[in-house]
């Protein structure tokens, strides 16, 4: 066994995080410690301006403290390193902490350069770099009307976008005669300027700011070298970045003349035990201010530390982005500086599109390109440039608008072509993933990580996948999985027509292989919807998701939560006491759910029967919180108590919940009943919503809350109870028969050909002549309902499954709770570690307590 090295990383920006992530994936045992100067772990700086248009800090986060803990990565936040002692291989922090290392990785990044203009240190003169900066900008903007960004490069325009989103009258001041002088040629820069001005951002190019003084109209005045001036309340500097290299300087590492820590092809600094990656590193006199090259450097160092031979050989600096809503792309030699290079230019002054293509002298290779206003050609142009592909005979076709007639031949990329440069995924990797069974975009993304970095390659990835699928003769099918070449609806039909009662029978007659975690639960649900057998009957046991198998909801630590049914949210004081007493006796965490019932968390597998024995004895039934089935029928208090109520909504909710409880469906179903139009039960966000009227009930269908909210549609009005129930019977049964796996009613109805109108025709007018059949099926299911927990408690075979170990009475010692707000919660990875090491922590409550509670029960 190789001795594990202590690896210390200074900095947790995008690149530092990528390094940690990659290293942990390659070497699960490496001792990794991260010293992070900011108050939070890595976040997405590329999409920082989204912070002002509603993206939260959580959404920008690239990781969480929990994830680092789970991956056994030590980290310190707000931790500034003051000094590196190379002799002792030790770093010292501002707080005086000391960290030894075997290998040190500097990922300190860069800081915003503030030009030495007199007056640049006033309160509303800010930079745009970190989340903290953004908070400061937002605060300042709230007190400002006009904002100026100094710097018209890529980041400057991002910053201008931020100011514009904050509602400021926005200006951009650029020293060079054009915007984005690094990436664009002069004509491209001018087109960009024109477009941005039309979007309400004033561009002042060729202006050198000499001083920031007090203003007359606004807070400040910028004075330019040509004698002109500009009034503003807020100044944002975005005039480039400078590498954070002070640490390296002060410990004697080689740094560049204009800053940057000198590294070799292995990203090693002048000290072989110290590496530098990302924007702080200087490779062949170049700083790479983009995320993709930084990621590449991170992978190089990971490879060096894990015995690989990867080296850094420079990086492509091409970019495509949307600045203030204007599409801009730049590839390779945008300025046509290669000797003999030829340029093709296309301009559309009406649509304000500018495209330039730089090709080699012989016209065979693409060297660079500039795109402003339309970057739809970017992906294919980039592939030509990166892969040195032979250009078509008439290369201008690549930037000309597609004319009617001959479309361009589909781009056939070599397998080596890089599709995602953030995660270094080549076309070959994607094809291999598809060979391995991934055949949809989501699967390929999660399996190759392609398109999960900056997201710039999303469209290209999709076209590669689509082309590849097409070339394999694959049509997009709704087959359930590799084991059944049928949709859920077709399988249900096969089951019902063929009278099939088990998965094994269905598999041998219509499927192949052994089944999987997709088809097994789906078929279990179909069998339950069709025949309503006890779900834990022997042939069905292995088909269920763990939640259905153990009739409880598995939580992150492998413990379960328990939800007894409280129909309509109505509960007696006696029953409340029972729940409270059970929670106390088994030391469970209790929380009120959104569905008006009580969730009890922290039950161990082996405790579930004892908990349920108590609940069943007290008259409770299972709440099916674990199943794809009816959850709750929420209600307001209704006419019984409420001054405004016009019907007994609680009574109706209880009746409906008891009718449909246990009904297995393609997805969970939620319902609600409101006693008047004030709609206190929020029925219009439910699959089935019922609102009382003076004359009866209004029925709403196919609403949804949660991740994809949808307002329910009014289906029928002023129904009497009998008709109401009949319609709900029919709708639910039709849904069960025709929906796809995991399709909520909202999506199901949107996909129904004809939508709501069609649904009305089938349900109300019985256009298909199936209404009676649907009602009969529902009646059979309602008739055969039995509480699964009651059945389980009477079945010694089924109860045998509720033990942690087949050969020991011990409990799972990985389930550990600590106390928080006077209740238990799962211990974090670090707390568990301490527990297992038997380091005493007073508040820990370990395995003994719940086990004793169980023993008393027996």
């Amino acid at each position: 066994m190789q001795q594990t090295k202590q690896i210390l990383v200074i900095g947790n920006g995008m690149v530092g995080h990528h390094f940690v992530d990659q290293l942990r994936a390659k070497d699960p045992l490496a001792q990794i410690t991260v010293l992070c100067g900011e108050a939070q772990l890595a976040y997405d700086r590329v999409h920082l301006s989204g912070y002002f248009s509603g993206t939260s800090a959580e959404q920008l986060a690239l990781t969480t403290e929990e994830a680092y803990q789970a991956a056994n990565i030590q980290y310190r936040l707000n931790c500034w390193v003051e000094q590196i002692n190379r002799e002792q291989q030790l770093v010292v922090t501002r707080q005086g902490g000391q960290f030894y290392y075997d290998e040190l990785v500097l990922a300190t990044g860069s800081y915003a350069f503030v030009p030495p203009i007199p007056g640049n240190d006033q309160p509303h003169c800010l930079v745009y770099r970190t989340l903290q900066d953004l908070d400061a900008i937002a605060q300042s903007a709230a007190l400002s009307k006009v904002g100026v960004v100094i710097g018209g490069g890529l980041l400057g325009l991002e910053a201008a976008n931020a100011l514009k989103q904050l509602g400021l009258q926005t200006h951009v001041v650029e020293f060079a005669p054009q915007l984005m002088a690094v990436q664009l040629d002069q004509a491209g820069g001018q087109m960009l300027s024109q477009k941005i001005t039309e979007l309400g951002v004033q561009v002042h190019a060729g202006k050198a700011t000499q001083a920031i003084v007090a203003g007359a109209e606004c807070r400040y005045q910028l004075q330019f070298a040509d004698g002109e001036s500009l009034e503003t309340d807020l100044v944002l500097f975005s005039a480039g970045i400078r590498p954070y290299d002070q640490l390296a300087r002060s410990c004697g590492l080689a740094v560049g003349e204009r800053g940057g820590i000198v590294v070799n092809d292995r990203c090693q600094t002048s000290d072989p035990h110290i590496y530098a990656i990302g924007e702080c590193a200087l490779w062949q006199q170049k700083i790479f201010g983009l995320v993709a090259p930084g990621y590449q450097m991170a992978r190089v160092v990971v490879s060096q530390l894990t015995g690989g031979g990867l080296s850094f050989s420079g990086a492509d600096m091409s970019t495509k982005l949307k600045l203030l809503g204007v599409e801009v792309g730049s590839i390779g030699d945008a300025h046509a500086r290669t000797p003999g290079a030829l340029s093709y230019v296309f301009t559309d002054p009406r649509a304000q599109v500018y495209k330039k293509m730089v090709v080699s002298k012989d016209g065979k290779r693409l060297l660079g390109a500039v795109l402003v206003g339309d970057t739809s050609n970017y992906d294919s142009l980039l592939q030509y440039a990166l892969n040195d592909m032979l250009l078509p005979k008439q290369p201008e076709q690549l930037i000309l608008p597609a004319t009617t007639g001959v479309p361009l031949a589909a781009l056939t990329l070599p397998d080596s072509a890089t599709i995602c440069s953030c995660h270094n995924v080549a076309k070959g990797d994607i094809v291999a993933a598809m060979d391995g069974g991934c055949c949809d975009l989501a699967g390929i993304k999660s399996c190759t990580k392609a398109s999960t970095g900056c997201g710039g390659c999303t469209a290209l990835l999709k076209s590669v996948v689509d082309d590849e699928l097409k070339s394999r003769g694959v049509e997009v099918k709704n087959h359930l999985c590799e084991h059944f070449a049928y949709s859920r609806q077709e399988l249900l039909h096969l089951v019902q027509v063929g009278g099939i009662k088990t998965f094994a029978d269905l598999l041998s007659r219509h499927g192949q292989g052994l089944g999987c975690d997709i088809c097994k639960p789906t078929v279990a649900s179909i069998l339950a919807s069709s025949w309503n057998d006890y779900v834990l009957k022997k042939p069905h046991v292995g088909l269920q998701d763990t939640n259905d198998t153990f009739l409880a909801n598995m939580q992150k630590d492998g413990s379960y939560s328990v939800v007894p049914r409280i129909a309509g949210g109505e509960i007696t004081a006696e029953k409340l006491l029972v729940i409270g007493q059970v929670a106390l006796d088994f030391n469970l965490y209790t929380k009120i759910t959104g569905g008006q019932r009580i969730d009890l968390f922290g039950a161990r597998l082996e405790q579930l029967p004892a908990i349920w024995q108590r609940l069943v004895d007290a008259g409770f039934e299972t709440g099916h919180a674990y199943g794809k089935s009816l959850r709750t029928v929420k209600s307001c208090v209704g006419s019984t108590w409420c001054r405004y109520g016009v019907q007994d909504s609680v009574g109706q909710a209880i009746a409906i919940e008891n009718r449909y409880k246990g009904l297995r469906a393609p997805h969970k179903i939620k319902m609600a009943v409101s006693g008047c139009t004030r709609e206190c039960a929020e029925a219009q966000s439910k699959d089935i919503g019922i609102i009382a009227t003076e004359n009866g009930w209004n029925l709403y269908v196919c609403g949804n809350g949660g991740m994809r909210p949808r307002h329910a549609d009014l289906f029928a009005t002023d129904l009497d109870t009998e008709t109401l129930i009949r319609y709900i019977d029919r709708i639910l049964m039709l849904y069960i028969r025709t929906a796809d796996r995991l399709q909520r009613t909202s999506v199901w109805m949107e996909k129904l050909d004809g939508g709501l109108e069609y649904l009305r025709k089938v349900i109300i007018d019985d256009e298909l002549g199936i209404a009676a059949e649907l009602e009969n099926q529902m009646a059979a299911l309602v008739h055969t309902y039995a509480c699964e927990w009651k059945a389980t408690l009477q079945d010694p075979q089924a109860l045998k499954r509720f033990r942690q170990f087949v050969n020991s009475p011990d409990a799972d010692e990985n389930i550990v709770f600590v106390e928080e707000r006077s209740q238990i919660r799962p211990a974090t990875a670090e707390e568990k570690h301490q527990w297992l090491q038997q380091i005493p922590i007073t508040q820990l409550s370990g395995a003994e307590l719940p086990v004793n509670a169980l023993a008393e029960e027996k």
Binding site: L514, G515, V541, N807
Partner: protein
């Protein structure tokens, strides 16, 4: 390497898993039926991705030619023969040898795949 008597064959659940304690290690034991023949597999019960002892409660099945269990937490698939995670090939769980003798299930105390990354 020593063999340990774990349980009776009847304690296994067809097409599903149970969990056993072997020298302090949690082992998930699955009973499958392949071409009419019972086949027993044993792997570590700990899901290194979810960070919990839950694999015995996963659904077993096949992905292509591979016989796998799907973690009930985040649904990654682990090969029952190599211990490798299909979605994250660098994650490998321990695999144990199993034998059936006179109606009893025995597990070998040593892990079959030494390269397992999580123990």
């Amino acid at each position: 390497m020593a063999w340990a008597d774990i349980c009776a064959f009847e304690d296994l659940v067809e097409n599903s898993g149970i969990c056993a304690l072997l020298n302090g290690q949690q082992v998930a034991v699955f009973l499958l039926e392949l071409q009419g023949e019972p086949q027993i597999y044993a792997v570590g019960n700990y899901d290194p991705i979810g960070g919990a002892n839950v694999l015995s409660r996963g659904i077993v099945g096949s992905v292509g030619e591979q016989i796998v269990v799907a973690s009930p937490l985040y649904k990654q698939h682990f090969s029952l023969t190599t211990g490798q995670c299909l979605e994250q090939p660098d994650v490998v769980i321990p695999v144990y040898r199993v034998k059936l003798q006179q109606g009893r299930v025995w597990l070998n105390v040593g892990q079959q795949n030494q390269q397992a990354s999580a123990a």
